[in-house]
Structure formats: C-alpha cells, structure tokens
C-alpha cells in the first residue's frame, strides 16, 4: 500500500460521499445507499488490509478497531456512518502525514543538502564520481556554485563558501590554502582543490544529520510519561468499553467509545513538538541532542562560561597600531617581516595581522636574534629593528618618551599587551595585542537574562586582573580566576548542590570535566570539533554566543508547546468520551473531532519551525581584553 494509492482511494471515497450527499438532497434513496456502501468498501479495504497484517504479526492496531466499528455499522445498516468513518480515517491519516512532513521539514532540508557526486583528479584525469566512491586522500575540485562533497583542507585556490549546512550562518566565509572546508557547504564564488581527509559517513555533515536523527528519536521525560500512560491507557479503554456495553447494551456506543478513545493525538502530541524544536535548532546551527536535553535546557537558571575561547575569541589579535612616524601599514610590514623569525605567539599575531591585510613580505630578516622573554632584534632593508617590551628597549638603550609611555600604560589598563617597535634606535610605534571579547557577547548575555537566566558566572585559569576586566565589561554576576580544571568542576558542583540548574559553556576540550558535571554542557565548536560533538549536550556549530540565547529560548518555547499539545490532546479525548457516554457524540462526528485534534496538535508544533526570537542587530562597541 503506497502513499500515492492511498491518496487516490481517499479522493475516490470522498467524491462518492459528496455524490451521495447530492443524491440525498435529490431524494434518490436507493442510489444513495449503494454509493455509500461502495464508498465504505473502497475506503475500508486498505484499513482492513492493514488491520489484518498487524494481526498476523500479533500487533493490535487502531485499524482493527475501525474495521470492527465499520463492520458493525454496516451490520446495523448505518451506511452514512460507515462511509464517513472510513473516509475520515483515511483523510485524517493523509493530512497527518502531510503535516508531519512539515514538522520534519528541517531535517529533510538538511538531508537534501547532502552532496551526491564529486569531481576528482586521479592519475591526472578529471572525473565525476559518486560521493560513495570518493576515497581518502583524493584531490577534489569544486567550482563556484558547486557543493563540497568531502571534509578536507584546501590544497590550491581561494573561495567564499556558504556554510549554512554546518553552521546555520548565511554569510559566506572566505577560505584559502590550508583552511578546512566541510562537506555540504557550497562554493559561493571561486575555485578550490581539496584533499579529502573525511568521506561519506565520516564527514562532519553526515554526523550532524545522524546526531539530529538520533536526537529526534530520543525520548523526553514527557514522552516517556506519555508512553507509559498509553500502555496503561489502551487496556483501560478496552475494559471500560466492555463495561459500557454491559451497562448500555448498546453495541454502537461501545464501538464508538473504542474508536474515539484511540490515543492518536496523545501519542503524537509531545514528539511533534520535540522534532520541530530540534529541527529548528539544527537549521540555525544548534545541535540539541534530544528531547530530555531540551527539557533540561529550558529549566536552566545559571549559566557558567569559560573565558578564553568562549566569551573571548580565544586567539590574540592586534587591536591597535600606533605609529609615530609614517603610515601604520608600513610599520606593520617592517615589523611583521622581522617577526617572521619569532616563535613567540605575540610575534606570530603581528605576522598574522600583516597577512590579514594582504601585505607582501619582501625583505628577509638579517642578523636576526631572539631575546628570550623580551622580544627580537633584526635588520630589515638596512634598518635595525628592535621589537619587544620595556626591558628590551632599556637593554638596547632606547629611551621611551613620556607621551609614548603614557599611551602604552593607557592601552595596558584597557587590557592590552603593549609592544614597542623601534627603528634605528628610535621608538617608531606601539602595537596593542589582546584577546578580544566576542563582539556579540554582551548582547547574547542580555538576551539570556531576558529569557530567564538568573545568574551568569565566568570561570578562567587566567589572572584575576584580566578576569575582572571581562566581568566588568560584560556585567557578570561572579568571576572566578586562576582556576585549575578541578576547581571549575568543584564550583559547578557547589552551584548544583545549592539547587541551581547549571549550564556550562566551554570550548570543548579543556573544559570537558566541567561540561560533564553541569546539568547541561554546551560546547562552542567551530564546525563541531569531534570531542565537543560527542560529549556536549548542546553544540553551537558557529562560534557565536547568540546561538546560545536562541537555543535557550527555543528550548523554553518547545517545552511550552509540548505542554499545550499534551493538555489539548488529553482534554479532547476526555470531552469526546464524555460526549459518547452522554449520547451526544456519534461515530462519524467523533472521528472528525478526533482527527481534527490530531491535526491541531501537529499544526501547533509547526509554529516552532519558524520560531526565531527577535534578533536586534545592534552590535555593541567592542571591548578589549588581554590574556597575557
């Protein structure tokens, strides 16, 4: 019995019903009865077949109940009833399938992004192969407009990629040699060749889909309760209907009671909300790993953040270049050329900044010397450069003017490391380097508070001074600095013991114990690092904190939606059964209301798919910080 044929049968029996109504108005009684019987048989056959198949497998099904009811109705000559019930049952199932598809549309949209073929170069030959035949180490070519079919590193070329499939971000990211690209993303413009290091089922994208599938199947506590409820409910209804028969001697009422009591809407009410919610998250780059996680996340009142890499970007950047002679770009080029020899991360940060600004490196450093802990000295283009801290300047006998010193101290108070650059014995400029707070952090924390988080705490292994700066910038409730991993765990445990529901957000690896201890562990995973995808309850696929506030309010909305559905489904069944016993509700009308209630439950869940908390695009001014 396939879907197409079922819809056809539904349509035919619907038309026959309509014709019968016409004949009824025109007073052709015998014809009307014939049509009704015909409609019953046409619509009833697939129901009967399903009931029989289930019975053969010793499974009790709603189809069996309907079949019994319909046969009973035919037997007592209620042809209108029998035709209406069979049609409504099929039509309800048809509508249910359609609307359920909607609740699952998010996952389907993801699955539809799965690439099917790839262009690979083997033995100097370019060929198009199915994704299943791409092997590790293959060189894959992706032109603009094409989908990336593997995870890997770019070997040649540059491109902008739309990574929405992985991160939910619609703004294309630009990537070049050595950068990682992911299966399922699309080259917006450009041309790249990628060496595949993950193919098929092992790609991040395939694993995201699998995780979302698993998440949608895993049951929330509400669902488990409903399941248990259904297990008690069905036999209870059977016993009750026997009682109804004993007391009323009314076979019709008994059958109606049985059919109406089928727990369709009940069974479906919680899962549809969860599926729609998880789907919404997945589309927005938030993996919520199941219904129970959804419920726990909605109850969170305390959020604990790790600092480095979570509230801050996790890698130092050049925040300012102050040049006392000439353009900052020229100074940056000279200093970066000298720093090419440096192994210190501050030096490398300066080199990275120069590369980011597309400056070309023309001069090789001569007589280069690294002065441990203080800086470097090198000859570039005939000029002698000394770059480093105050100690180096003093050792080189370079005087720092008062205005320069005052400027450097100002930058340091704002949380930067100040690096002095001198050319031929004179200070030429000051570089400020800091690990910046994420630009969206302040706004995301505001949103979290607005959605009901009471307490926001930061933990860090960093020094107290820096930690307090961040705490002040972001208006955190508590800041704990200079911690070891086990201290973080202890703090979270203490919060839990005092009755808080704690979510811990970290960047996945060094915070793993704390993430595991919290009620909900969140991992910031740029493109989902393996460990975070495995261990965290919630994974934010981009490094954006506002995804967290979205996840939190989404969880709350999902749980609300689930409660509405459960309440509505239980209420409808209760009212209908009362109606049946009072003789106010009959088989066809009861069936109609029953099917409608299932539909309303599904439609309510569909609202979640579009759920977005109004995002104001206001970007806060970027505060500055340091992690030295």
């Amino acid at each position: 019995m396939n879907a197409k044929r079922t819809s056809l049968i539904t349509a035919i029996s619907g038309l026959l019903l309509a014709a019968a109504i016409g004949l009824h108005i025109a007073d052709f009684h015998d014809w009307k009865q014939t049509l009704l019987i015909l409609a019953t048989i046409i619509a009833g056959t697939p129901i009967l077949i399903k009931a029989f198949k289930a019975l053969r497998m010793k499974a009790f099904s709603i189809e069996l109940l309907v079949t019994i009811a319909v046969v009973g109705a035919l037997f007592i000559g209620e042809y209108v009833e029998s035709a209406a019930v069979t049609f409504l049952f099929l039509f309800g199932a048809f509508l249910e399938a359609r609307t359920l598809e909607k609740t699952r549309s998010s996952l389907k949209a993801l699955v539809d992004m799965t690439p099917l073929e790839a262009t690979v170069i083997r033995n100097d030959e370019t060929m198009i192969v199915s994704v299943d035949d791409v092997e590790l180490g293959d060189r894959v070519i992706i032109r603009s407009g094409e989908k990336v079919a593997v995870d890997g590193h770019i070997a040649t070329g540059t491109a902008t990629l739309n990574e929405a499939a992985i991160t939910g971000e619609s703004v294309p990211a630009s990537k070049t040699i050595e950068d990682r690209v992911f299966s399922g993303t699309i080259v917006d413009s450009g041309f790249i060749e990628v060496i595949a290091d993950r193919v098929g089922e092992d790609t991040t994208f395939a694993r995201i889909i699998e995780l979302v599938e698993e998440a949608q199947e895993s049951q929330s506590t509400t669902e488990k309760f409903l399941d248990r409820f259904a297990n008690i409910y069905t036999p209870t209804i059977v016993v009750l209907s026997v009682l109804v028969y004993i007391f009323s001697r009314n076979i019709e009422m008994t059958l109606t009671f049985l059919v109406i009591a089928c727990p369709g809407a009940l069974v479906i009410s919680a899962p549809v909300s969860i599926v729609a919610g998880i789907g919404n998250g997945a589309r927005n780059g938030v993996l919520i790993k199941g219904g129970d996680i959804m419920e726990k996340l909605a109850k969170i009142d305390t959020v604990v953040f790790d600092k480095t890499g979570t509230l801050t970007r996790g890698r130092p950047e050049v925040t300012d270049i102050h040049s006392f002679a000439g353009a900052p770009e020229n100074l940056l080029q000279l200093v970066a050329e000298a720093e090419m020899i440096s192994e210190h991360h501050l030096g490398q940060t300066i080199v990275r900044e120069a590369k980011k600004r597309n400056l070309s490196f023309v001069n090789e450093p001569q007589d280069a010397e690294i002065i441990r802990g203080n800086g470097i000295r090198a000859r570039i283009d005939g000029k002698l450069l000394a770059i480093g801290n105050r100690k180096l300047m003093a050792a080189e006998g370079i005087g720092i003017e008062e205005s320069v010193e005052a400027y450097a101290i100002r930058r340091e108070k704002a949380g930067n490391t100040a690096i002095f650059a001198s050319i031929d014995g004179k200070i030429a400029g000051v570089f400020s380097i800091a690990d910046r707070i994420r630009p969206e952090a302040a706004h995301a924390l505001q949103q979290l508070r607005a959605s009901g988080v009471k307490k926001i705490i930061m933990l860090t292994g960093d020094n107290r001074h820096t930690a307090e700066l961040v705490g002040a910038q972001l208006g955190l409730d508590e800041v704990h600095a200079e911690l070891l991993p086990e201290d973080k765990v202890a703090i979270i445990q203490k919060l839990k013991d005092t009755g808080h529901k704690v979510a811990m957000a970290g960047d996945g690896i060094n915070d793993a114990p704390a993430i595991a201890t919290a009620n909900i562990g969140l991992a910031m995973g740029k493109g989902g690092t393996d460990i975070s995808m495995e261990t965290a309850d919630v994974v934010l696929m981009t490094d954006r904190l506002n995804q967290f506030s979205h996840a939190y309010s989404l969880a709350k909305a999902t749980v609300r939606n689930m409660k509405q559905n459960t309440f509505f489904a239980v209420g409808t069944v209760g009212l209908l059964l009362a109606g049946v016993l009072l003789g106010k509700v009959f088989l066809a009308s009861g069936m109609l209301i029953h099917e409608l209630s299932v539909l309303i439950v599904i439609l309510n869940a569909i609202r979640l798919i579009r759920y977005t908390k109004r995002k104001s695009e206001s970007q806060q001014a970027e505060p500055i910080l340091v992690t030295e």
Binding site: N2, A3, K53, A54, I62, A93, E96, E213, I268
Partner: protein, 73 residues
C-alpha cells in the same frame, strides 16, 4: 554483524514503530532493530551467515510498508 538501513515512506502512526521493531527483532540473527520514526528509517544489525538484508526488506514490505532504499554496511 552487518548494519542495514532501510528508507521507508514517511511514517505517521507511532504504532508502526512497535510493529516493525517487534517483527524484525523476532528474527534469528537480527539484533537491535530500531525504527527512526521521524526520519522514516529502519536500522538493524544482522548476522549475514544466518539472515540476509533482502529477507528483512521483505518482512517490512509484508507488514505494509514499502521500502524505498536499502543500504548495507
């Protein structure tokens, strides 16, 4: 043990889950059959010295659920 994934048409009745899982798990050589209700998939582990994926496919079809795809790994 091999793993097989069947793709079905969208499932709409939760009772089908128990039906399909029950029928498959009763077979000799099948372990851990699981219906993914929302993705419309059936996953099962099977021992290919005892039973073949095609036989499992047939069981699902006989229950009244057309199988659209079959992937053995």
């Amino acid at each position: 043990m091999k793993k097989v994934v069947f793709g079905l048409e969208p499932l709409s009745c939760p009772s089908c889950i128990k039906k399909i899982e029950g029928a498959l798990n009763k077979q000799n050589g099948v372990g851990d059959a699981k219906v993914l209700f929302h993705s419309g998939k059936v996953r099962a582990q099977f021992d290919d010295s005892i039973i073949q994926a095609d036989e499992l496919n047939k069981i699902i079809v006989n229950l009244g659920y057309p199988v659209l795809s079959q992937k053995v790994s």
